[in-house]
Amino acid sequence: MPGMGGRMSVVIKSKINKLLDRAEDPSETLEYSYQKQMELLQNVKKGIADVVTSKKRLQLQQQKLEQQVVKLDTQARQALSQGREDLARTALERKQFAQGELQSLDQQVAELESQQAGLIEKEQKLRSKIDQFRTKKEVIKAQYSAAEASVKISEAASGVGEEMADVGMAMQRALDKTEDMRARAGAMDELEAAGAFDDNLALGSGSTDDIDRELHQLTSQSEVDEDLERLKAELGSGSAPPQQELGSGGEQERPA
């Protein structure tokens, strides 16, 4: 039993063989086969371009999240300097969440980069094989009788056919993974639209919304605590101004 790639190349080979049986003129078959190979090479280029596009999109998201992390840190600092530890905590929780997302994005970008490199390598290999086929086809046309030629063509075409099937499989697997990432990126956009990374920390709104509650669950409380202590130390606080300065609201958020 041939492997998965084997089955794919068997399909391609049987197509090639049918073509060979039908063809009256071997040189015509050779030209047709060569033309098909060049078409596939163009498809590989398109596949690589798709991977690059996905990568760029993820990189844009990376940048947005990085800015968000800086902004949330600044907001936490501001909140704390005004004695609003509750708001500072919310900002830091969001920051932790954004940092977690950033980590997983880093991994995805790295994976796409390695897929891109792999596909480029495969494209070059296929190009070499097609070049070789082009050379062989000229030799076959010049040196063999029609009957002999069809055997030689079949051999050469099978070798290229297997390579084509393999490149096709590599491309399919890369695109499947890219699709998964795209779906995930879409989910992140929705989360963002729902306010998870909202610019405005809803100062004074007074109650935690669903996203806040979710964030409470998602983020590690101890990391937030550490972050909060770090900020307090940096601000030299401990002598925070009285909280009533900031009006009503937010205070109830904090569990007693």
Partner: protein, 92 residues
């Protein structure tokens, strides 16, 4: 024997390496039959290692058909179920 690692490259293996590959192939089938995912990945990694270590890569200008095609290195256990059955990749 010419072996291809799907989505990677083709290699030429000598008889000894081919025999070792066949043994590992049978072990992979046994692991799949037994539903032992960890064991399967362990054996499959050994197969890939063997081909990469013992095989000499085919030149880009060689138009050869493979005798055996190993599935892609990132194959899942579910996908493996349809590959490593019966006599495995290499008929005994």
């Amino acid at each position: 024997m010419i072996a291809r690692i799907a989505t990677e490259s083709q290699y030429r293996l000598d008889d000894e390496a081919a025999a070792q590959l066949n043994e590992l192939d049978n072990e992979a089938v046994a692991a799949v039959d037994g539903g032992d995912e960890d064991r399967f990945h362990e054996v499959f990694e050994q197969m890939l290692d063997l081909v990469r270590r013992e095989g000499s890569p085919l030149g880009d200008d060689e138009l050869e058909e493979s005798d055996v095609i190993l599935p892609p290195p990132d194959i899942s256990f579910v996908e493996a179920g349809s590959e490593f059955t019966g006599e495995g990749l290499i008929p005994d």
